[in-house]
């Protein structure tokens, strides 16, 4: 694995009196898949919000590819190569499935107002590329988002398909780092297995570095190079899946002793 792609240095975040992230150090190396686990309300999604610029940390620094991205506007962070999906889905519901993905190519395409208005050859070429990119991103999920679904509005998708579309959309921004917030939520075991494989392929074929939040231990086990466990905004364990999953704090706060979470 390569260099530190993302590096959080002593990051803190509070809402009113409530400290949600507390002096967190966390890094993701180039090409790595890191999972974040932790009980509900541990601050996982908040971590994503900090990295993508929705919130600005109250302390600490966030470095991406050697540059501080703290305080940048979200769209600039995205252009630097970070994309995400949302736990509470936020698709462009009234746009077609394909357009949802094409829209995400905004950041790395160039045609400006005048070139678009006059439809210059360069602009046309770019449009074609965007469309192909979008279709490629969608084809990644097999038939599920293809065919007639391309032109269906996003609101007509079922919950799990919306999740998939979120991922497709995020990949269309051509990120280096992909943040996935509970990608397997709402999927049955078989589909979960499918998404586990797909995440693997996102790295191997798409070349993305991935930071993922997930509650399903099958997924976490299947994909992670490294697992980070949070509780109350503090890192309580870090390491391989086996190590983290057996760490007593994690078992107590998160996994519970019952059988089913551990298969």
């Amino acid at each position: 694995m390569g260099e530190k792609l993302l590096d959080l240095q002593g990051v803190s975040m509070a809402f009113g009196g409530l400290t949600v992230i507390d002096g967190l150090d966390l890094h993701v190396d180039e090409g790595e898949i890191v999972s974040v686990i932790g009980p509900n309300g541990a601050g996982k999604t908040t971590l994503f919000n900090l990295v993508t610029g929705v919130y600005e940390p109250s302390a600490g620094d966030i470095v991406f590819a050697g540059e501080s991205i703290k305080g940048l506007e979200p769209h600039r962070i995205t252009r630097k190569g970070i994309a995400r999906t949302f736990q509470t889905l936020r698709l462009f519901l009234n746009m077609s499935v394909r357009e949802n993905v094409m829209a995400a190519a905004y950041g790395h395409t160039r045609a400006g107002v005048f070139r678009s208005m006059f439809r210059t050859p360069g602009q046309r070429r770019e449009e074609k590329e965007i469309r192909e990119l979008a279709e490629r991103c969608l084809a990644f999920f097999g038939e599920r988002l293809m065919g007639y679904r391309w032109d269906q509005p996003a609101y007509s998708l079922s919950y799990a398909n919306r999740r998939r579309l979120e991922i497709a959309r995020a990949t269309a921004t051509k990120p280096r780092l992909l943040l996935l917030d509970e990608p397997a939520a709402g999927m049955n075991p078989k589909e979960t297995q499918e998404i586990t494989e797909l995440i693997g392929k996102l790295r191997s074929e798409g070349g993305f570095t991935i930071l993922v939040i997930e509650h399903d231990m099958h997924v976490v086990e299947g994909i992670s190079d490294r697992v980070v466990a949070l509780d109350h905004g503090v890192k309580i364990a870090e390491g391989s899946f086996e190590d983290v999953a057996t760490a007593p704090q994690v078992v107590e706060a998160y996994l519970g002793t019952g059988g089913m979470a551990r298969k």
């Binding site: 999604t45 994503f48 919000n49 929705v54 949302f86 736990q87 509470t88 936020r90």
Partner: protein, 307 residues
Amino acid sequence: MDNFIQFTVNALTLGSVYALIALGYSLVYGILKLLNFAHGDVFMVGAFIGFGVLQALGGAADPVISIWFVLVLVMLSAMAGCAILGVAIERFAYRPLRNAPRIAPLISALGVSFFLTYSMQLMFGSQQRDYNAFAMANGALFFKGFDIGSVRVPLLRIVIVVSAFVLMILLWLLVTKTRIGKAMRATSYDREAAAMMGIDIDRVIVFAFVLGSALAGAAGVMFALRAPASVTIGFVAGLKGFTAAVIGGIGSIPGAMAGGLILGFAESFTQGYISTRWSDLFVFLILIAFMLLRPQGLFGKADIKKV
């Protein structure tokens, strides 16, 4: 100093009428997220109903019963008539559009507004009507009252301000202290989820329209007691009410009251101390600045930004 007191009195009178109109906007907006453009016209119809009842009871100068009683009747019938009108508007123009894109009921509301204005013109012409409150009880409404320094606060203004405040307080109690009030809040946040709790959203919405329209009817009468009414007064009244509602934080009841008063004060004082010609300019500049500093309005809550 006298002028200052007088401007304040003017502002309170204006402001309480604005506030009553704003409340109707806020109530409906709160629940349906609908800018009910027809609200100003309900106000106008209220003024006309009041006029009709007043005439039927013998007019301002020689009423068939005590003028105070007549006034109460005028007010109540305008409120009742407007409430019915409001319910009808909701039932026929908005309810079929519950699940339509937000902009659709907006246009429907404009349609209703046109329909009301010009139906009234068709039926009653476009002249201005004067309640002639000046003649009521030999001018007592204008000349009796109490004095602050050398400024006389006439009865009519007192009646307007006091009854406006009483109505607003009643409304506030209704909405915050009762079950239906809570249902209104829930409905305003998520209609479908409210229905899932067993709240009859149709009834809640109708209730909001009844309240809002009745207040508009009251405001119509109060307005027409001091100024001539015609079929076109609804537009400006609506604009003012809407503005007041947004300043206060649309959807918020104390906000609507505050917004109405702020608007009343802004108008009265800019006219008084700056310039009548440019008063509107300053009023709108102040309002724009205000909106930029506090976009959610005085009492509005900022949107929850949770991703």
